[in-house]
């Protein structure tokens, strides 16, 4: 019997539609793989019974001729999404025991199309982190390990990136066909790059944020982590859409993204921003980027040098805006209404004890930064200035798109690093987002496509940045890039049953 967990989403869909396989057996296969891969710590909660129920429902949909692209596809859901009656804590201790009475809009859309929930995936607490080491439920292990000089697999664990590290590891280890992530400054694209996956962050406003536990409201966006660009197109179409319950979602019809994958990008202008050549970038990444340029050129695209002059301000701007918003968004976790409460002598004492016990170090660090930059006397110098710079960064892109259609950059400045390597150095951790943050600040869509392996056999991704609501074009270029790169590598299995 063939291993159903090796299927891509599009292949599984085709097999389901042809009734070569059933949603139930597809789901069972993935539930077994989850069991086998438990040491990766990719899932916080496995909803096996629910998954089987949903799979049976999906099979009925298919038999009734109501199949959609996502019908019967078993997926992991980042813990940050509120799923009715199911663990939804954004990997935080402070939401202990919280089970929402409602379902997020994005997951509702997926369930309406017949997708199957395997469980809730691990993440950095409140989506704050780039290594998935900031989870109350412990770090996620990347299925990918480096090769030693002698060709053997290292016994050291690498990080899967973050914050959607659980989702990335779950898909990379073939324990789910795809997974939802969320991206605030790179939290889909960077883990995709670290785990050899496709990760798409759509335009801000493309997906509803309703029912997503907020980190930084002006930046948070839902998106898929998948095995292929085609898979991302199929899943994106299901997740996206206008939602009157989210005032920041945009009322533009959702196109058929898969139909945009024509394979033809002749004449398309690809911008290469000179400011993305940063000091200390590993050779492998530099080389891969050049190769990416050549691949697109060979496919008939025109390569254009562009400048995004305010790029160097993006990271500091992001680390003012995002903490400012999070300091306010996380104020509701106060021990009064739900989740963790540590009693105290007074209301203030209860707040202090609850929040001291409930939040991890990185979350506390960002709440402190955010509180500081919004304080009287500092607001103008930090928050207001950051907002102005944000406008300049968005304007950089606007000007660039007068000359080009999409922009090609590396996704991250390095491959996956070792677990624990950067955990005590927040600044070097923040540098992981240097290439992903500018598009986030500008609200633009970005996609990471696996493009090669570094000298240690770890995957590397290239990022394409598109124009606002230009996901179709973005996916079309990503599809060509993916095809040219021909990335077929899989992590060598070191976990679970090695037979």
């Amino acid at each position: 019997m063939r291993d159903l967990t090796k299927l891509t989403l599009s292949a599984a869909r085709d097999a389901l539609h042809k009734k070569d396989i059933s949603a139930a057996e597809l789901t069972e296969a993935h539930l077994r793989a989850i069991d086998d891969a438990s040491e990766l710590n990719a899932y916080i909660e496995v909803t096996a019974d629910k998954a089987m129920d949903m799979a049976v429902g999906a099979d009925k949909m298919i038999n009734a001729g109501n199949a959609h692209g996502m019908t019967g596809i078993p997926i992991g859901i980042k813990d940050l999404y509120c799923t009715k009656g199911v663990h939804s804590q954004s990997s935080s201790h402070i939401l202990d025991g919280f089970k929402p009475e409602y379902e997020s809009t994005v997951t509702s859309n997926l369930w309406a199309d017949g997708a199957v929930m395997l469980g809730k995936t691990n993440q950095d607490e409140f989506a704050m982190g780039s290594s998935n080491e900031n989870s109350h439920y412990g770090p996620v292990k990347n299925p990918w390990r480096a090769d030693k000089k002698n060709g053997d697999l290292s016994d050291k664990n690498t990080v899967p990136g973050g914050s959607s590290g659980g989702s990335a590891a779950a898909v990379a280890a073939d324990t789910s066909i795809a997974a939802t992530g969320t991206d605030t400054g790179g939290s889909i694209r960077q883990p995709a790059s670290f785990t050899g996956l496709v990760g798409l962050k759509p335009t801000y406003g493309r997906c509803s944020r309703w029912g997503m536990i907020a980190f930084a409201s002006s930046l948070d966006q839902a998106g898929p982590l998948t095995k292929t660009v085609r898979d991302a197109a199929i899943m994106m179409e299901s997740m996206a859409g206008y939602d009157p319950k989210d005032s920041t979602s945009t009322n533009i019809p959702v196109p058929n993204y898969e139909a945009a994958l024509t394979g033809d990008i002749r004449g398309l202008k690809v911008g290469i921003p000179r400011e993305y050549r940063v000091d200390g970038m590993p050779n492998g990444i530099e080389t891969l980027w050049s190769q990416g340029i050549d691949w697109l050129k060979d496919a008939g695209a025109e390569i254009i040098d562009i400048s995004l002059p305010h790029t160097k301000y993006a990271l500091p701007t992001y680390y003012i805006v995002a903490p400012a918003e999070c300091s306010s968004n996380l104020a509701r976790y106060d021990g009064v209404k739900y989740g963790l409460r540590v009693n105290g002598d007074s209301l203030d004492d209860m707040y202090k004890k609850t929040r001291a016990a409930g939040f991890g170090d990185e979350v506390k660090r960002r709440i402190l930064i955010g509180t500081y930059v919004l304080s009287a006397g500092y607001y103008d110098a930090y928050y207001l200035k950051a907002q102005r710079v944000r406008t300049l960064i968005a304007n950089d892109f606007k000007l660039a798109y007068e000359k080009c259609d999409v922009i090609l950059t590396p996704t991250a400045p390095s491959a996956a690093f070792n677990l624990g390597e950067k955990v005590s150095d927040p600044l070097s951790m923040y540098l992981n987002d240097v290439f992903t943050v500018p598009a986030s600040l500008a609200g633009l869509p970005g996609i990471s496509v696996p493009a090669g392996l570094n000298s240690q056999g770890l995957p590397l991704g290239l990022q394409l940045i598109g124009q606002a609501f230009g996901e179709e074009q973005l996916l079309a270029v990503a599809d060509v890039l993916e095809c040219a790169a021909g990335f077929k590598a899989k992590p060598k299995k070191w976990w679970g049953d090695k037979s």
Binding site: P100, E101, R209, D246, T248, S328, A331
Partner: protein, 494 residues
């Protein structure tokens, strides 16, 4: 010239500003679909949004926007076509989000002017600085449990309008009249019910004192004052206290104070040092609030007539005295009652409106208000219906009963609730206008009082009233006084 307050070391003047919080009349809350009805069981009008469940997002209630614009129009204010919602961050158990959504830098309504009338008949313009929309907090209940506080979130997220005056009042009376005027305007505009005892309206009172013409002194802010009388007490006691402190060599601290009803004075709540840093910033969950001038114009077109316009119309079209007009428009319900009664009376008596305005206004402000005052009830609970009142006035207008009898019938109506026509019928109070009957009576009276007739004819014209009185006595007041006059005069003057 503002009023001066004498102190031991000379005169002082006061500078007063008010921030009025008015609850918006709307079916649902500012950013959620939860109901807003007063007096519901605790925590029964709470949505996922107003209890700040994770991942919930606010969506602006368009009706609250319309209400804020209507209120701005009622105060003659600038309406801002673009405004921004900000978060005001602070922790409290009844503030589930950990922040209040308010408007800080860019409010929906800008400057305007409100005219107040003072007891001496003079008028004064008080500037309005701004009006902004904001969420109310929930309610903490500290008396339900020996060690715990209970929280009721029914009010959490209810829409409030904060109306900020300029510091342009200088006496307790001006502050009270301004507060009254704002209350009247929102009630006329239908944007706030003004029920202070239900918490629909309250004021934060800012007071400072200074030497006449000098720079502004340090102000104090007294929070949550919920009656017009208390506003006056706060202002009075703060002026006195501040003058005393300064004259004793002390300094006024910029602080937040609380009003204590029992003593009629204020006490420190928190000092400037303890003041919160609210860390205002634009709410990233909401887009800037934008609407067109057309939207404003359409609302303006449908605005109800407000008190100032109504008063002018009462005086010019209905020939009502300025005093009566002022009394009638002070409360929307009084004006409504008066206008309903006037049109009912016009219909019943078939007389033109302009002829009846004065009579009806006199009756409402005199007889009716007098009776309601005695009963200690308001116009909306008047025991006399519009149709009965119109009947009573029509009986008087068509001469069926005299003004004096009308008062008697009204007393009876208050007691019995019967219709005036029935009372007149039952008690035989119909006015006698039969000239033959009255003439015979006059002849008899003149014959019985020959001496008085002589005195009258000798120049004691005051005696005319005596003869009228005799006729009235004989008819128990039912003789039509006009007919009596007409018949009596020629007979006496013969």
């Amino acid at each position: 010239m503002s009023k001066l307050y004498p102190g031991a070391t000379g005169n002082w003047e006061a500078v007063i500003g008010l921030e009025v919080h008015a609850q918006v009349i709307s079916e649902s809350k500012l950013f959620s679909g939860s109901a807003t009805a007063f007096g519901a069981e605790p925590n029964t009008q709470v949505s996922f949004v107003c209890s700040a469940q994770p991942g919930m997002l606010p969506v602006i209630n368009q009706e609250c926007v319309r209400q804020a614009v209507r209120t701005g129009l009622a105060m003659g204010c600038q309406i801002n076509l673009r405004s921004v919602f900000d978060r005001k961050n602070y922790f409290y158990a009844d503030l589930p989000q950990g922040y209040q959504i308010s408007q800080f830098k860019d409010p929906i309504v800008g400057e305007g002017i409100v005219n107040i009338e003072l007891e001496d008949g003079s008028n004064k313009d008080i500037g309005v600085e701004r009006l902004h929309l904001e969420q109310d907090a929930g309610k903490s209940m500290h008396d339900q449990h020996p060690t715990m506080t209970y929280v009721d979130l029914n009010r959490s997220g209810v829409a409030l309008m904060e109306i900020v005056s300029k510091p342009e009042m200088s006496t307790p009376e001006e502050a009270a009249e301004y507060f009254k005027k704002i209350r009247s305007l929102v009630r006329y505009a239908g944007t706030c019910d003004g029920n202070m005892d239900q918490g629909s309206m309250r004021a934060d009172v800012n007071v400072s004192v200074r030497r006449p013409g000098e720079e502004l002194g340090t102000r104090t802010e007294t929070k949550n004052v919920n009656s017009i009388r208390y506003v006056m007490q706060v202002v009075e006691s703060e002026i006195r206290r501040q003058i005393d402190v300064i004259e004793d060599g002390g300094r006024i601290n910029q602080e937040t104070r609380l009003f204590e009803v029992a003593t009629g004075t204020t006490r420190t709540m928190r000092s400037k040092e303890e003041a919160h840093d609210y860390r205002y910033f634009p709410d990233p969950d909401l887009l800037p609030l934008e609407f067109s001038q057309q939207f404003v114009d359409d609302l303006a077109k449908d605005m109800p007539e407000l008190s100032d316009a109504k008063k002018k119309r009462f005086i010019s079209d209905l020939h009502i005295t300025p005093y009566n007009a002022g009394v009638l428009v002070a409360e929307k319900e009084s004006a409504d009652y008066f206008e309903a009664l006037l049109s009912a009376t016009v219909e019943k008596s078939e007389k033109p409106t302009s002829e009846l305005g004065s009579l009806v206004s006199n009756w409402v402000t005199g007889d009716l208000f007098g009776a309601l005052n005695k009963l200690g009830i308001g116009i909306t609970s008047s025991p006399v219906s519009i149709s009965h009142a119109a009947e009573l006035l029509s009986l008087q207008i068509d001469g069926t009963i005299s003004g004096r009898i009308a008062k008697e019938v009204f007393e009876n109506m208050l007691e019995s609730g019967k219709s005036p026509e029935i009372i007149v019928e039952e008690k035989g109070l119909k006015q006698v206008s039969d000239t033959g009957e009255i003439e015979a009576m006059i002849d008899e009276i003149l014959a019985n009082n020959v001496d008085k007739v002589e005195e009258y004819r000798g120049g004691k014209s005051k005696l005319f009233g005596f003869f009228v009185g005799q006729v009235m006595q004989k008819t128990q007041g039912k003789a039509n006084p006009q007919v009596v006059n007409q018949l009596l005069k020629p007979k006496l003057d013969d």
